[in-house]
């Protein structure tokens, strides 16, 4: 039979050493629980390379304690901050102090913000993207749970400035800290990323090769601080809507013998519009450098559509002032007349291309650089306000009625130019821009974020649906997938756009230490109790005995 001595004999042998090996194995194998913790979706800041320079946050892993801006030190911490509290200088301060992560809380609806706030957000977004940082930066919509965490962390970190060590200890024992964790693997390069161009054409009446061609271009991608939040309603959802609507109306005119014009139309839905117009650049290279370039022969001009809704006027951006009696000038006057009719002011803005700059500000500059007359129609007078490609550019803000009016102006101007006569009769005959079709294009665009990297897969469903829609109205529709150069890639995208962050309530290490002391004290009380149990026993015995004697 075993006695307890036998059992303890085991511990005298090699057994303890086996335990030393077994424990770490058990530790690794046993699963980590997630019960009780708060999990929420987070959207990672942009991370990409363009023309060899790096942008955005270079890391995606987080496993550090949370702090708010109230605590003075941010080193190796995850800083929680509301977007309205974050300023560019504060961001640089966080980076310099070596914060490990940053979680930016977005208000539930961005469209309720005032213009002033939006301008601050645009400014901040630019800084966030342009600064290359090692820390992981995430954005999240502020839910009720996140508000609780934020408030809790705030009171928790205020103990850093408590009056005495004891007070700090006491308050840290009573409040919760949070450990923020984003697991998974570190963000890495997406090896096969394509920028797709979709182009199709409408052939004019006559010998096709000898007819002049008008190119209508809109880039379909969107941009924001986080790829997953890039819905790009106005830029450039509105451009795509306008292009599709023009294609819809022109296809009807081109299919009827009576109204078949003597001009070719080329439609191009280009990709990479926020990556220095890589789509247009590649398209031009492919078409112009090819030995036979049927698409761009006899081109009159290229019309780029970018950011059309809202505001009071449309701006006609050109890099060179069109001379009188040239096609661009005729188109401009046609457009002006149509605008006058429909109450939209058309303004000419001309700005020379700065060849020293790597990045072009408007898409038409890519065409102008290749000696093709081109201009951009946009409501923006300046491309660099930050309004293009922002978090705030959501479909809730987009006014479909205004967009319809803008598209109507462009269609009227274009038709006027193509037929070189008033076109009110054509537009009246069931060919007008309708809100129904505008809304149907919008619902397609609304369905998913359209950041360039999210559409860079080989068989992206969004690209294929654009292809399908365009092939309804134009012929020879092709999707060209452009791959970055192998040795010297123009663009490199990184993955991990969306993760889930987990906030674990934690206590500081000092809490465990205090707990150990309390438990030790408790155990010694138990020990004393057991030690003096016989004495207590005899005391009680005597007490009851005397009572019994008294009774007897």
């Amino acid at each position: 039979m075993w006695s307890h001595e036998d059992l303890f004999d085991i511990f005298r042998g090699n057994f303890p050493y086996y335990l030393l090996i077994a424990f770490p194995i058990l530790l690794i194998l046993s699963p980590m629980p997630v019960s009780g913790s708060v999990e929420f979706p987070v959207f990672r800041l942009q991370q990409f390379e363009l023309h060899g320079s790096t942008y955005g946050s270079q890391s995606s892993l987080v496993n550090v304690e949370a702090r708010t801006l109230d605590s003075g030190s941010y080193a190796r911490r995850c800083v929680l901050v509301r977007i309205k509290d974050l300023t560019p200088s504060l961001y640089h301060q966080l980076v310099n102090q070596g914060a490990a992560a940053l979680l930016i809380l977005l208000p539930k609806s961005l469209n309720s913000l005032s213009l002033e706030h939006k301008e601050l957000i645009w400014e901040l977004e630019e800084v966030l993207i342009d600064t290359e940082v090692q820390m992981a930066v995430y954005l999240a919509y502020e839910s009720a749970e996140l508000t609780d965490i934020y408030d809790s962390v705030r009171t928790f970190t205020n103990t850093d400035s408590a009056s005495s060590a004891a007070a700090a200890l006491l308050s840290s024992l009573s409040s919760d800290g949070y450990q923020m964790v984003v697991g998974g693997s570190q963000s890495k390069k997406i090896s096969d990323s394509f920028i797709a161009n979709i182009h199709g054409r409408l052939a004019g009446y006559g010998v096709e090769e000898q007819l002049p061609t008008i190119a209508i271009v809109a880039h379909y991608d969107a941009f924001a601080a986080a790829p997953e939040l890039a819905f790009g309603a106005d830029s450039n959802g509105s451009g795509v809507v306008a292009l599709l609507e023009i294609a819809r109306i022109l296809s009807k005119l081109y299919s009827s013998v009576r109204t078949h014009p003597q001009k070719n139309i080329l439609f191009l839905l280009s990709g990479g519009g926020f990556f220095n117009y890589q789509g247009s650049k590649r398209f031009l290279e492919d078409q112009l450098d090819a030995s036979d370039s049927p698409l761009l022969s006899e081109i009159e001009f290229a019309l780029c559509l970018d950011t059309l809704t809202n505001g009071s006027s449309l701006n006609f951006h050109a890099s060179r002032k069109p001379k009188e009696n040239t096609p661009p000038f005729q188109f401009y006057t046609a457009l002006e007349e149509a605008g006058k009719q429909l109450g939209v002011n058309i303004e000419m803005i001309h700005k020379k291309i700065n060849l020293k700059e790597d990045l072009q500000s408007w898409e038409h500059e890519k065409y102008s650089m290749r000696k093709i007359t081109a201009f951009t129609l946009s409501r923006l007078s300046n491309p660099k306000t930050g309004e293009r490609g922002s978090l705030t550019d959501t479909f809730e803000v987009l006014n479909a009625t205004v967009l319809k009016e803008r598209v109507a102006v462009i269609v009227a101007g274009l038709l006027k130019y193509i037929y070189n006569r008033p076109v009110d009769d054509l537009l009246a005959g069931g060919l007008s821009v309708t809100e129904d079709s505008i809304n149907s294009w919008l619902s397609l665009l609304k369905s998913q974020p359209r950041s360039t990297q999210m559409l860079s897969g080989k068989n992206n469903p969004f690209i294929s649906s654009l292809h399908q829609i365009l092939s309804r109205y134009a012929s020879e529709v092709k999707t060209a997938l452009n791959k970055a150069d192998r040795r010297d890639p123009e663009w490199v995208f990184y993955d991990n756009w969306r993760s889930s962050m987990t906030a674990y309530a934690v206590k500081p290490a000092s809490f465990d230490f205090v707990l150990t002391l309390v438990i030790a004290a408790y155990l010694s009380v138990v020990y004393l109790f057991l030690q003096y149990f016989p004495r207590l026993f005899s005391f009680l015995y005597k007490l009851t005995a005397t009572q019994r004697l008294k009774i007897n």
Binding site: W2, L27, S35, S37, V506, L540, T544
Partner: protein, 235 residues
């Protein structure tokens, strides 16, 4: 939280068991193996209980949210199996003389063995899995504290059963002991009843206090009855 926290919880849960064994003259009697045997019987009893529960009282599916008093009472009633098992242990397995003087050894061996087996089987895994996680939760400390209360509870039940099995127990004490034993079976119903009739759902420390204070009272009463028997015998 950390492995350190897990260590704390384990120390809090297992410390009193170890101290009780070490400093209650049990080692002098070489009672370790006896305790282990008691643990074996505990496991057997639990298996029987589970079989009976699964065979005769299949769980009502779906309505896990609503508290069914009938089911709760049945579940608590099955705990009579515990009493039967413990009485078997005290009557047969734990040997020793039938004298009153060795009574405390019997009670300690049976109660401690039973409680230790209970602790190993019901609390070791949740602590191992939960207390090491990143998330801090008071429930693991409460679970460890509850282990201490359940040690006292098991010891007091063992005392009561031992008293019940004595022939020389004063007749007027028997109803009291019967009531206490019944209470010890149904004590887990206290929070359920509170939840049903007063629509308050105690949690955390208040729940712990609610279940532990009656247990401590029962323990105190059973201890004094044990002493009174001891006194009456030695006189």
């Amino acid at each position: 939280m950390t492995f350190f926290h897990f260590g704390n919880c384990v120390a809090l849960a297992y410390g009193p068991y170890f101290l009780t064994y070490k400093y209650s003259t049990l080692p002098e009697y070489g009672a370790f193996w006896k305790c282990a045997q008691v643990g074996g019987i505990y496991i057997f009893t639990q298996l029987c209980k589970m079989l009976i529960l699964a065979t005769f009282f299949p769980t009502s599916e779906g309505s896990s949210e609503s508290v069914n008093l009938f089911h709760e009472i049945i579940k608590a009633t099955i705990d009579i199996g515990d009493l039967l098992g413990l009485s078997l242990v005290i009557a047969k397995t734990v040997g020793g003389s039938q004298s009153v003087g060795s009574g405390h050894i019997k009670i300690l061996t049976a109660g401690l063995g039973w409680a230790a087996a209970d602790l190993f089987l019901t609390r070791a895994l949740p602590l191992w899995v939960g207390a090491r996680g990143l998330q801090f939760d008071w429930k693991y400390i409460l679970m460890s504290l509850d282990a201490n209360v359940s040690l006292i509870s098991h010891l007091s039940v063992a005392t009561l059963i031992w008293l019940w099995l004595r022939n020389d127990l004063a007749a007027q004490l028997r109803p009291l002991i019967a009531i206490l034993l019944t209470f010890s079976i149904y004590r887990h119903l206290i929070p359920v009843l509170l939840n049903m009739f007063m629509s308050t759902k105690p949690e955390g420390f208040s729940l712990f206090a609610l279940t532990s204070i009656p247990t401590l009272c029962v323990a105190f009463i059973s201890l004094t009855s044990f002493y009174s028997l001891l006194c009456s015998c030695s006189e």
